[in-house]
Symmetry: C2
């Protein structure tokens, strides 16, 4: 991780979007449109600065931003590009205090681009950190909440100009519940600003270096495309491990209650010929079974990539016949503590499964 501030180039944005797609584990929304918006802003002269967490003042007011909604919605209902900025501004106004930097609410998928769009509009730097190191479907599922940062106040804004503030909620699950019905009413997607935190809280509860990592992953995938090497070979120096290689033979997907839920079935080929992988989806890839044996679970990362190009495939565009490789990354340690697993472990998603650490998987089969 760099300790220097850096100004984003258009190529950086390209790499970050690609790497964030890998970290998105199928969710977080497709970064494509956001990437074009950020690159357009840079072309028009915006200087978007990435700020190492060390550089943030302990008392600085920070606001995280992202998009809320199902990825299946985001490919049909285009964003106006100003939703998250409206939500960000609404919280500043509600608090009566200007923010000093923008924080990424979710590095995975399109939500990696949202803070950059906001930063370009409001002229503030973006901290090189996030609270997931991946994507998660629900808004209380992050290390800020796990670390005790309040989920409120939070703001939601839509492309029609509706702006709502969740001033206080009974608990983080109520923030999610109310935020979700509001998002569904807004048409299934909305700009989200939350949480509000101080620099000290970010340093303690955040995952450091998220943009740096996304850029490195993106660069590695691009390099693998040029060098025609396997995605897992390109990404293993960054911690990836190959789980499975095969062809998608079935996909079930339904958008319900503001989520894209379903599962993908992958018939193995090459070393995995004769085996079947099943991946359960709730916006993101959450659990993978190999021949009905649990192989890996949330919060560890399950990334489905195009087997030829290494490009990440979002759960909203998974389809029959795609040839894919499934890679895994270990979750950030903040997510796999007992407190973390209570919020983002398999049981938090309704699966009656114990979390099996990625490191154990490595030992068992390595």
């Amino acid at each position: 991780m760099s300790k220097d501030r850096w100004i984003l180039t258009s190529e950086d944005v390209e790499h970050i979007a690609l790497g964030a797609g890998v970290l998105g584990t199928g969710g977080g929304g497709n970064p494509y449109l956001g990437k074009l918006m950020v690159q357009g802003a840079i072309r028009d002269g915006a200087k978007i600065e990435i700020l190492p967490p060390e550089e943030v003042g302990n008392d600085d007011l920070l606001i995280a931003v992202s998009g809320m909604g199902a990825p299946t919605v985001s490919i049909e209902k285009l964003s106006r590009g100003t939703e998250a900025t409206m939500a960000f501004r609404a919280l500043e106004s509600h608090l009566g205090e200007p923010a000093r930097a923008v924080v990424c609410g979710e590095i995975g998928g399109g939500n990696s681009m949202t803070p950059l769009e906001v930063a370009a509009r409001v002229g503030l730097p973006v901290v090189d950190a996030d609270p997931m190191g991946r994507a998660f479907p629900e808004l209380q599922m992050d290390t800020f909440n796990i670390g005790g940062v309040s989920t409120t106040p939070a703001a939601l804004a839509d492309e029609k100009g509706n702006v709502l503030i969740l001033a206080h909620t009974q608990d983080p699950l109520w923030t999610e519940r109310l935020g979700r019905v509001i998002t569904v009413s807004m048409g299934g997607s909305a700009g989200l600003a939350m949480p509000v935190l101080r620099g000290r809280q970010l340093k303690e509860a955040g995952i450091w270096g998220s943009y740096t990592l996304a850029r490195r992953i993106g660069r590695a995938v691009r390099q693998s495309q040029r060098d025609k090497i396997r995605p897992e070979a390109a990404l293993s120096p960054l911690g990836a491990r190959l789980l499975f290689r095969g062809k998608i033979s079935d996909i079930k997907r339904v958008t319900t209650g503001g989520f894209a839920r379903g599962e993908a079935i992958i018939q193995g080929f090459q070393n995995d010929a004769g085996s079947t992988m099943r991946v359960a989806i709730q916006n993101e890839n959450l659990v993978a079974w190999r021949d009905e044996q649990v192989l890996i679970t949330v919060p560890d990362l399950i990334c489905i990539l195009d087997d030829d190009s290494g490009e990440p495939i979002g759960t909203e565009v998974l389809r029959y016949g795609l040839r894919v490789c499934v890679l895994a990354f270990a979750a950030d340690p903040k997510l796999s503590t007992p407190a973390g697993l209570a919020v983002v472990g398999p049981r938090a998603f309704g699966y009656d499964l114990a979390y099996r650490p990625f490191s154990a998987l490595g030992r068992a089969s390595g």
Copy 2:
């Protein structure tokens, strides 16, 4: 209408609750619990002052309060009593300016009591005015909105401590739409604070003397019970007119989308023997047909009272066999202008009917 400030007595509250039940046209929630809370506060020493609109400063910040939700819900899910106060305080905090008085968002039904509860808690007077002169099912349906007062910011709070602020909406119908789904998520009822307005706006767009009128109606009904005279005889000096007298022979009611919808069928007796009245309900009584001829429509008031006692009967407790009289009052003139009818006329409720003024009804049959 009195031009003097007055301090509410427990008997005043009794009369206002009763009169507000009549003005509620079946909706606005049952005033019973709210009445007990306000009388309890008075017994405990609260001085709740009713302030004539003339006494309000033109630049004074005012906030209206009410409860949001279907009356069928309010009889099963009791309020904590602090919801509207939390919403009121949330708007003050959001605006960074203290309010000078509490305004009644809806004089009809239980919402007549809500401002008194809030006033007792926050120590401010209640203005003798409201924006309906009755009850309406949707939050944009009032003379403040008709008169150009913004429906935002608005705040909703529930008994669990959830507090949401609608900071900005595309238009008043979006305030209603978002407010409704939030209320449903909160369990079907919530405390509402809206709109925020200045004294000048209240004087121009409000209906004056609402508490005074409710008290007069309540006193007249109590007097009629003591004197054993017909409800219509007691209330005709206050503008009421008898529409129908009969027995409820059928009632359809379903709570859907946050509203109590249905219809009541009344078989006439005495002068109305052989005739049938049908009353359409959406929280409130909205349209009455006599032998399938439209007799009266919203925004004029259709009040179903117990034929013996003159007590108002809420749409949530209408039931087979009740002997009732149906009275009408003319709507406030602000509601029956073309701009008013666009918001609260029969077509605004989905009925393909022209508004037929109560005064025309008087001429036709008088």
